[in-house]
């Protein structure tokens, strides 16, 4: 396997600014950044340094001012808008700080959204999502609505939503920021065990230094640039705890 094959995300010279003239803010100032398959990569840095902007660019949600992003060898910026949406739908999963669950849907239905968007029949999509929730320890709450769930439970539903369609890259923005330490720790543990897979990359943006020990790699960002990349301390036991169970490719 050549080094390029193991690359999930590859960013070179990414620049991004918002506004023009007096209002112009340079948010990304030439970011070079790589995330490899099978890795749980952390992106950390002070507030306002551009972490969210960078992952939005990686996910193809924001245009860059200059630079190149490739995801598994695909250049999203060069794709037509509609293809980019479809690429995101099948290859990317997202976990947000605010969970962003639909209040109108149950836990299982929320987790099934990527499948529904892809046109999987509702019954099948919800069944698959419910099975996944069961494996994430929420088997008894699949029919609950978000307002009936705790923050940690809601984030687990969001995690299921990010995993249900077996994406190749999972992007998490501050997944533990709204949770207390113990709950955050539990969610990270679940993320580390359920999401990490040899063929998949997991990119986590966080402030929360208490969960840094889950990382394989930690990239430090400051003022719109990656300043330092260091190995993390994730133990191998955590890596393979549940990943083989949870990532049945035919599911």
């Amino acid at each position: 396997m050549t080094p390029l094959d193991s690359t999930a995300v590859h960013c070179t010279g990414i620049r991004k600014h918002f506004g023009e003239d007096d209002a112009r803010v340079e948010v990304l100032r030439g970011v070079d950044y790589t995330v490899r398959r099978g890795e749980l990569s952390f992106l950390v840095g002070p507030s306002g340094c551009g972490k969210t902007t960078l992952i939005s660019v990686i996910a193809g949600l924001l245009e860059t001012s200059s630079g190149e992003v490739s995801l598994f060898g695909n250049h999203l910026a060069r794709m037509p808008h509609s293809d980019r949406v479809l690429f995101r739908r099948s290859h990317l999963g997202f976990v947000f700080q605010q969970y962003n669950l639909l209040q109108a849907l149950t836990a299982a239905e929320n987790a099934a959204i990527p499948l529904l968007a892809a046109g999987v029949r509702r019954r099948e999509a919800v069944d698959r999502a419910a099975a996944l929730l069961d494996r994430l320890g929420l088997g008894s709450r699949t029919a609950a609505y978000p307002r009936q769930l705790s923050g940690g439970q809601q984030q687990r539903v969001a995690l299921a939503r990010a995993l249900v369609h077996e994406p190749r890259l999972i992007i998490c923005d501050e997944p533990t920021a709204a949770l207390d330490h113990a709950t955050g720790e539990a969610v990270m543990e679940l993320l580390a065990s359920a999401a990490v897979h040899p063929d998949r990359a997991v990119l986590v943006v966080t402030h929360d230094s208490r969960v840094f020990h889950f990382a394989d790699v930690i990239a430090h960002m400051d003022d719109g640039q990656i300043t330092r990349v260091e190995p993390g301390r994730r133990t191998d036991t955590a890596t393979h705890l549940g990943s083989s169970r949870l990532t049945n490719p035919s599911a």
Binding site: T52, I55, S56, A59, L61, L62, S82, V85, L86, R88, R89, S90, L92, G93, F94, F96, Q97, Q98, N100, L102, Q103, A104, L105, E109, I113, P114, L116, A117, A118, R122, R161, D173
Partner: protein, 385 residues
């Protein structure tokens, strides 16, 4: 995805209900006003259309509707009868007189004198009694509204009488004709009875009713009669249309149209505004859907479906209420002709749907413009416009 959209709509009960109420009320208001307008206009032609045995109406040239009466000379009747292709022609006399009931009620009545020999123009549907009983002198049949006016609250039955110009007219039955635009009681009598009530006047014929012979086109016969000069012949439908146009062009429909337009604008504005608010308040979930790969097309279909559900449910409720109110009003004898044609019911719903469609399109534009990346920020999602 459509199912997700419906769940979102259902979950926002307050707005869902507000939109359905707005659509229902607008549809009800528009249908009710349009039905009254249509009924009023059709009432101006009702006495013309009620005559089904004749298919031609011949009048003095300046007559535009059933309520304009100008005495016709008897020679005209002979001239019409002389036209090839006319199967028969009969006079119809229309006069107004004051009627008194035994109970002391007094009202102007319209008396229609039907040709004694042919009985052409006799009501073809009766509620009580037989129409041809009017052959007997000083008898008449009365319409339900007239009966209610002279004998309020009494059951429909024959045998009562009215005093008109010092004659006692016996009521032999109750006709089932459409309510007249004038709201006056309609008495059908024989022409000789009517003429006796009209004593001292030269007026014996107000209209000539005629029937085309099999094989002759009524329109062609009209042309032949008009060519005689001094007469105006129209088919029943032409005369009915002229009558409706005559009243319709006098401004009253404008007043109804104003109310209908207000209903349309207010209904569409409230529905559209609420829908747009519903979409804007759901900006965050919708952005999330965009992030996870829902296409603009899927979102557009979702909005269309949500809008359709609101419009269809609201239209059904609104039309149901309008129909129920219409049926309630029709129990009044004078308002018995009120009707809600399906064309009006459908037309009002479609009109509201098309105006509300603008808001649906605006909502779609809003969703398209949502910046999906904003979903990462804990703050409120903004629109990239």
């Amino acid at each position: 995805m459509n199912w997700v959209g419906l769940q979102m709509l259902r979950n926002d009960r307050a707005k869902f209900a507000a939109m359905i109420v707005a659509v229902s009320l607008a549809v009800f208001l528009m249908q009710n006003q349009a039905a009254i307008l249509a009924t009023m206009l059709s009432m101006t032609a009702a006495q013309i259309r009620d005559v089904q045995d004749a298919d031609l109406w011949v009048t003095e040239p300046e007559v535009e509707c059933f309520d304009q009466v100008k005495a016709m000379r008897d020679i005209h009747l002979l001239r019409v009868r002389g036209i090839a292709g006319i199967s028969w022609a009969a006079p119809l006399l229309k006069i107004d007189a004051i009627g008194h009931s035994e109970g002391g009620r007094l009202n102007t009545v319209t008396v229609l004198g039907i040709d004694d020999a042919s009985l052409a123009g006799l009501p073809h549907r009766m509620r009580v009694g037989r129409a041809d009983a009017i052959r007997e002198l000083n008898t008449a049949i009365i319409d339900p509204g007239g009966h209610e006016l002279f004998f309020p609250g009494e059951p429909f039955q024959a045998g009562r009488s009215l005093r008109i110009r010092d004659r006692r007219i016996r009521i032999m039955g109750i006709s089932d004709i459409a309510a007249p635009f004038t709201g006056l009681p309609m008495l059908h009598t024989s022409r000789s009875t009517a003429a006796a009530l009209n004593l001292g006047e030269q007026h014996m014929t107000s209209f000539i009713l005629a029937r085309s012979a099999p094989g002759s086109r009524p329109e062609a016969l009209c042309q032949k009669i008009n060519a005689l000069g001094g007469l105006r012949a129209r088919t029943t439908e032409q005369f009915a249309a002229d009558a409706m146009w005559f009243y319709g062009s006098q401004g009253v429909p404008m007043l109804f149209m104003i109310t209908i337009t207000i209903g349309l604008i207010v209904g569409a504005a409230i529905t559209g505004q609420t829908f747009l608010m519903f979409i804007k308040e759901n900006a965050r979930p919708l952005s999330m859907l965009k992030v996870v790969g829902t296409t603009d097309r899927q979102l557009g279909t979702m909005i269309l479906l949500q809008g359709t559900v609101v419009l269809v449910l609201g239209s059904c409720f609104g039309s149901g209420i309008a129909a129920a109110v219409c049926n309630l009003i029709r129990t009044q004898p004078f308002l018995r002709s009120l009707y809600l044609p399906w064309e009006i019911a459908l037309g009002t719903c479609l009109a509201l749907a098309s105006v509300t469609g603008i808001a649906l399109y605006a909502s779609y534009r809003h969703v398209r413009g949502l910046e999906p990346a904003a979903v990462f920020t804990p703050a409120i999602v903004t629109c990239a416009a």
